[in-house]
Amino acid sequence: MAYGETPSQTVGPYFAYGLTPGQYGYDFTDIVDPTIAGPDAEGEHIRITGTVYDGEGNPVNDAMIEIWQADANGVYNDNPIDVSDTGFRGLGRCGTGTDANNRFWFDTVKPGVVEDAHAPFVNVIVFMRGMLSHAFTRFYFDDEADRNAKDAVLQSVPEDRRDTLIAKRNQTSSTSPAGIEYRIDIHMQGDRETVVFDV
């Protein structure tokens, strides 16, 4: 190895005016925000929401979540800026400090199945004060049980922990513009500790 990796450092408590300025009301443009797919994007429109909990079960109010996902056809869009033709960014970022209950939320479309996977999922990165390296995880969908059962990555997770990666569909939600909400909490520690991948 010619060069050593630059060490990761915590995002700290004060990321908002740099990384999520629009959401937190700072006078700076966003390059990414909680809208992963706009109204014109092809596919089933959904909202993904949840809470991050620390080891004592308290909601974390200074975490930042990023999602990277394929579109409804299972294709990754590598240009999240110029999406005027598709409405699909594929990338989202949300801090947990502006919702009254410290939830994160993402407005998106349900991803299709990617070439080398068997079940639809979104990639997730968790950042917060108190983590010197970010954590990679995934969200799968509970109405995809058959595909989930064939997904190599999900099946590589110890059986009793798979549920930590599965978002629960709630059809009657009134908080989502699409009326379809998937709920999934991130537990950093404890009985329901969310699986973190060594990506």
């Binding site: 005016y17 010197l132 991948f197």
Partner: protein, 233 residues
């Protein structure tokens, strides 16, 4: 499409790093689950140069309301490469930091130091064809934090990069040479390998220093490299 080399955990702090108290209740405790590199990890967002506006790279100008920001003007230069030394072009580098007095504009920063009406402390820039980036700013001040009695963070600038793929995402902090607080700072010290830790310290550069205007610092960033064999499709 190729996959990325595994993270070199020897270059990073552990999730539970007791010197930095907040990690104790926030870091994952169970073993990480290995994931076979696939399509997902090899893809990642590319931000067209359009993502960076004209003044985004100049923090001495992008937050002014009625004059010049207070403090020591600096210019930070760096080169982003991977672990094989390949330059990483067209990457957005997001930066944020405290002002010269050690105060963040963030609403929950309660440190009793003045805000500067002419300094917001956030910006972004993009690497050129050779992986080089640069931004102008004000040297950030040290600030106290609640980790332990008399705890002060060394001067630092936060940086965030999406690398060429989802797997190469990096958020880090750049420090300054000769800062006496470094040897007391758990966030810095929890990267146990002293050689890896040194990579977080920028170098003063007379070459990059602009005559009569700004001191120059060099901060190179190294992201994970690619595996030699391309992925089968």
């Amino acid at each position: 499409m190729s996959s990325f080399k595994p993270r070199d955990w020897g270059s990073h702090a552990p999730y539970i790093a007791p010197g930095y108290k907040s990690t104790i209740l926030r870091g994952p405790t169970r073993p990480l689950v290995a994931i076979k590199p696939g399509l997902t990890e090899g893809t990642g967002p590319r931000f067209a140069p359009a993502a960076v506006r004209k003044l985004d790279f100049d923090l001495t100008k992008n937050g002014v309301t009625n004059g010049e920001p207070i403090g020591e003007r600096i210019v930070v230069h760096g080169r982003v490469t991977d672990t094989d030394g390949r330059p990483q072009p067209n990457l957005v580098v997001e930066v944020w930091q405290a002002n010269a007095a050690g105060r963040y504009v963030h609403k929950v920063d309660q440190h009793d130091a003045p805000l500067d009406p002419n300094f917001r402390g956030s910006g972004r820039c993009i690497t050129d064809a050779n992986g080089n980036y640069m931004f102008y700013t004000i040297k950030p001040g040290a600030y106290p934090w609640g980790n332990h009695f008399n705890a002060w963070r060394p001067n630092h600038i936060h940086l965030s990069l999406f690398g060429p793929g989802f797997a190469t995402r990096l958020v880090t902090q750049m420090y300054f040479p000769g800062d006496p607080l470094l040897e007391l700072d758990p966030i810095f010290l929890e990267t146990k390998d002293p050689v890896a830790r040194e990579r977080l310290i920028s170098k003063f550069s007379l070459d990059k220093t602009e005559e009569g205007f700004a001191l120059g610092y060099q901060f190179d960033i190294v992201l994970r490299g690619r595996n030699a064999t391309p992925m089968e499709n």
